[in-house]
C-alpha cells in the first residue's frame, strides 16, 4: 500500500505580507483604488459642468475641502508609484534586437519617461493657457 500523503500548505489571506516583493506588488495593484476614486471625482465634476454654472461652482467648492486635497495628494503619489513601477516593467512586453544582439531595457524605459514628461508639459501647458484665456 502506498504511504504517499502529499501535504498541501494552505495559502493564507495575508500571503503577500510574507515576502517584500509580493508586498510591493500588492501596493502597485492597490494604487488602482486611488486612480479609480480619482476618476469618479472627475466624472462627478463633468456631470456638474453639464448641469450648469451653479453645480460646477459647487463641485469646485467641494474640492477646497481639506479631505479632498489630502486625497488628491495621496492619489498623485499612488499614480506616480504605479507609473514608475510600470515603466520599469514595460521593456518586458517587447523583444527588441539589433542584428543578433538583444537590446537592453534602458532605451525603452527612457522613451517612457520622455513621453511622460512631454505629455505632462503639453497638458499642463494647455490647461494653463486655457486658464489665462
Amino acid at each position: 500500500m502506498s504511504k504517499r500523503k502529499p501535504y498541501v500548505k494552505p495559502m493564507t489571506a495575508s500571503w503577500f505580507l510574507n515576502n517584500r516583493f509580493h508586498t510591493l506588488y500588492m501596493l502597485r495593484e492597490g494604487t488602482s483604488v486611488f486612480v479609480g476614486l480619482y476618476s469618479l471625482i472627475l466624472l462627478w465634476g463633468l456631470a456638474a459642468l453639464v448641469k450648469g454654472e451653479a453645480a460646477w461652482n459647487g463641485w469646485l467648492g467641494h474640492l477646497q475641502n481639506p479631505v479632498y486635497i489630502v486625497f488628491h495628494v495621496i492619489a498623485l503619489v499612488a499614480c506616480l508609484y504605479h507609473a514608475i513601477t510600470w515603466f520599469s516593467l514595460a521593456p518586458k512586453a517587447m523583444h527588441l534586437q539589433k542584428g543578433d544582439q538583444k537590446l537592453t531595457d534602458k532605451p525603452v524605459v527612457i522613451v517612457h519617461y520622455v513621453a511622460f514628461v512631454v505629455a505632462s508639459v503639453v497638458i499642463i501647458g494647455v490647461v494653463a493657457l486655457g486658464g489665462a484665456a
Binding site: 500523503k5 498541501v8 518586458k92
Partner: protein, 248 residues
C-alpha cells in the same frame, strides 16, 4: 581552533507518521564555500539519515535542488551559507507544490504543463531528411535563445502567487517554453499552441507580479515571455476575425 558552527532550520514531513510539516534545527560546521546542499548532505550523513531532499548536478544545471531558503525560492547548490550569517538559515520545500516528504515536493503538475505546450518543433510542410537541415541565423537564434535556457527547476512556480492561488494556471516556465517554440524560425506550430496562450489559464492568468523573473537562476525572464504572449494573444484576437487559422 574550534570549528565554527551554524544553525540550519529544516522543514520535515514524514507522511507515514506526521499530519503536518514541522521545523527541525541542526548545527552544521560552517565554511565559506559551503552551499545549502552541502549543509543538507552533512545533516544526512552525520545527524539524521532520514532527511529527504532532491539534488543531482551541484552546478545549477539539473534543476533538482529548488527549496525555499528563508522564504525565497533558491537553488540549494547555488545558495551559500556565508550569505545567511546574519539572518539565520531556514530551508523549506518549494512553495505552491504539495510536500511529498521533508524537502521533496511533488512537481508532477508542473511537468505535465511543460508537456502540454507541445514543446517541440512542429512543421506544416513536411520536409525529408534528404532536404538537409533547417538553417538558422544567429539573429533568428537570438529571438528565442534566452527562453531555451530554462532548467525546469520550478522556482518560478514557487514565486508565482497566481499559480499558488489557482494551479489551473499554466504558469511561468510552461508559457515561456511555449513562447520559445513559437519564436523559433524553424517552427510552424503557432496555430496549434494559440488556444493554450489565449485561455484564461494561459497568459491572461498572469497579473504581471514579475517575481518569477526575479528568482529565476538562469536569467530566463519568464515574465517577459508571458507579456509577449499577451501581445501575441491580442494580435491573434484581431487577426482571427480577419483570416481563418490553420486547422489544428
Amino acid at each position: 581552533m574550534s570549528q565554527a558552527m551554524m544553525r540550519v532550520t529544516v522543514q520535515r514531513y514524514r507522511p507515514e507518521q506526521d499530519d503536518a510539516p514541522f521545523m527541525q534545527e541542526f548545527e552544521v560546521p560552517y565554511a565559506d564555500d559551503m552551499s545549502v546542499i552541502d549543509a543538507l548532505h552533512y545533516i544526512k550523513d552525520n545527524l539524521d539519515g532520514t532527511l529527504s531532499y532532491r539534488w543531482s548536478c551541484r552546478m545549477a544545471i539539473c534543476g533538482s535542488c529548488g527549496y525555499m531558503v528563508n522564504g525565497v525560492p533558491k537553488l540549494g547548490c547555488k545558495t551559500f551559507l556565508r550569505d545567511y550569517l546574519n539572518t539565520g538559515l531556514t530551508v523549506e520545500s518549494l512553495a505552491n507544490f504539495p510536500i511529498e516528504r521533508d524537502l521533496v515536493s511533488d512537481i508532477g503538475d508542473f511537468v505535465e504543463k511543460l508537456e502540454e505546450v507541445k514543446p517541440y518543433i512542429i512543421r506544416q510542410d513536411a520536409v525529408s531528411v534528404q532536404d538537409g537541415e533547417h538553417l538558422q541565423t544567429p539573429a533568428q537564434l537570438t529571438r528565442y535563445r534566452q527562453y531555451s535556457l530554462c532548467i525546469n527547476c520550478g522556482l518560478c512556480y514557487a514565486a508565482c502567487p497566481q499559480y499558488g492561488l489557482n494551479n489551473e494556471f499554466m504558469g511561468p516556465a510552461a508559457l515561456t517554453l511555449l513562447h520559445r517554440y513559437n519564436q523559433d524560425s524553424r517552427d510552424q506550430g503557432r496555430d496549434e499552441r494559440i488556444d493554450i496562450v489565449n485561455a484564461e489559464e494561459g497568459v491572461w492568468g498572469c497579473t504581471f507580479v514579475g517575481y518569477c523573473s526575479e528568482v529565476c537562476p538562469k536569467g530566463v525572464d519568464p515574465a517577459a515571455a508571458i507579456q509577449q504572449g499577451k501581445v501575441e494573444s491580442s494580435k491573434d484576437f484581431v487577426m482571427s476575425k480577419l483570416r481563418p487559422r490553420r486547422s489544428s
